[in-house]
Symmetry: C2
Subunit: 269 residues, 2 copies
Amino acid sequence: MPIVGYGVAKVLESGYPDFKKGDLVWGVTKWEEYSLITMTGSLFKIQHTDVPLSYYTGLLGMPGMTTYAGFYELCSPKKGEYVFVSSAFGAVGQLVGQLAKLMGCYVVGSAGSKEKVDILKSKFGFDEAFNYKEEHDLDAALKRCFPEGIDIYFDNVGGKMLDAVLLNMRFHGHIAVAGMISQYNLDQPEGIRNLLSLVYKRIRIEGFTVYDYYHLFPNFLDLVLPYIREGKIAYVEDTAEGLENGPSALVGIFSGQNVGKQVVVVARE
Amino acid sequence: MPIVGYGVAKVLESGYPDFKKGDLVWGVTKWEEYSLITMTGSLFKIQHTDVPLSYYTGLLGMPGMTTYAGFYELCSPKKGEYVFVSSAFGAVGQLVGQLAKLMGCYVVGSAGSKEKVDILKSKFGFDEAFNYKEEHDLDAALKRCFPEGIDIYFDNVGGKMLDAVLLNMRFHGHIAVAGMISQYNLDQPEGIRNLLSLVYKRIRIEGFTVYDYYHLFPNFLDLVLPYIREGKIAYVEDTAEGLENGPSALVGIFSGQNVGKQVVVVARE
């Protein structure tokens, strides 16, 4: 089985009317120099080439669309709102925070190391950030960062953090759940005890997957491309040259060797 | 302190331009023969008098609007969908079930006695109903009633039932939380362990209160009044005559002596 992942490619030959020779595409490709792609439903034609093509594997691709779907479509953010992002140093979390700042929101992120927390504040413009591993009382940490409460929570982790957030939501707050990474490997998921807040504070929680929102990809580009061209979004890539260096780059991710989004260059023109 | 509750009254004198002498109103009144009402924000003028005025304390009042807000506004029901209502024998639950049936949904309710379960099916037209006190495994009970899963859950109870429902929701299902009556009197709320379903199945849960939806009262009447006039909605009242019988009627509710919505007639014309 070839490894499947998101990639950028040039069409060399096509039997599908929407793609013709020479088109640049992004989507689910294989780790190959030449691929035969039959699932065209997961391929998108690249219309804008004045930004690095590699961005379509991250900032302008699936993680970017995940951000757009969860933050804009589900949470309907407004200027001045209080926004919290967990796993804020991830590809999605970084972008949620930056887009929220560009909208004029107050943004706090949680991450798993002091270094990440510092970078969230210094490079990505988060108003505040904290290392969840060093907080014995997540409720207290959130109250410290959000004395006025939270309007929007972009949840990537679930579990105890979600439970603590529920205690700190403001009336009519929105929670978009992109993932619950703290729960996937447990024998039994943790119990969430603070759902009464849903009623008391009229809160909405919604789980989602990016695959339901790709029809909004043009809207997402309209929003994000100008920010990228104006240099208003920070984005870091770690590039491995050559398909032969792909396996070690992949292994490196799991020990945190990469700095930013790991990209493998299969070919340059 | 006078007891506050929902009532129907006739305006004898008014210093407020929206209400004039002779108007009939419903809203938050006191248990008095004559009341001075200064909080006009919780009073609604009665426009339709071809239905029993007492209905405005229940079916056409706050419980009715709660049903409309939670079922129609939050859950966007469609014909053929699978609908579950907990505390289905309550004023709200009865109406949710009947409106869902009138929309062409499949409806199941849970209640706390065999008698209530029987009436839900025989009188209120539920497709199925079960006594939650006799089900050792709520998940199994729901799977029995909903082999295809649940599209819409109108939650009045929270707790274990909500947790079991989460395991049985269909993709893109909606849960409207009107209350969590099983949780209010616990020292610590029960833990809800199945929230991962939110992500896997892209589910939305939303808590709400009727007070945010009264601007939709005319829409609610447009929907429900024709059904009432055509006799398509079953509604039961238990009437106590005279304000002097109010206290015993109130006490009777807590021991379940009332059959249907308890109304106290203060005056007839």
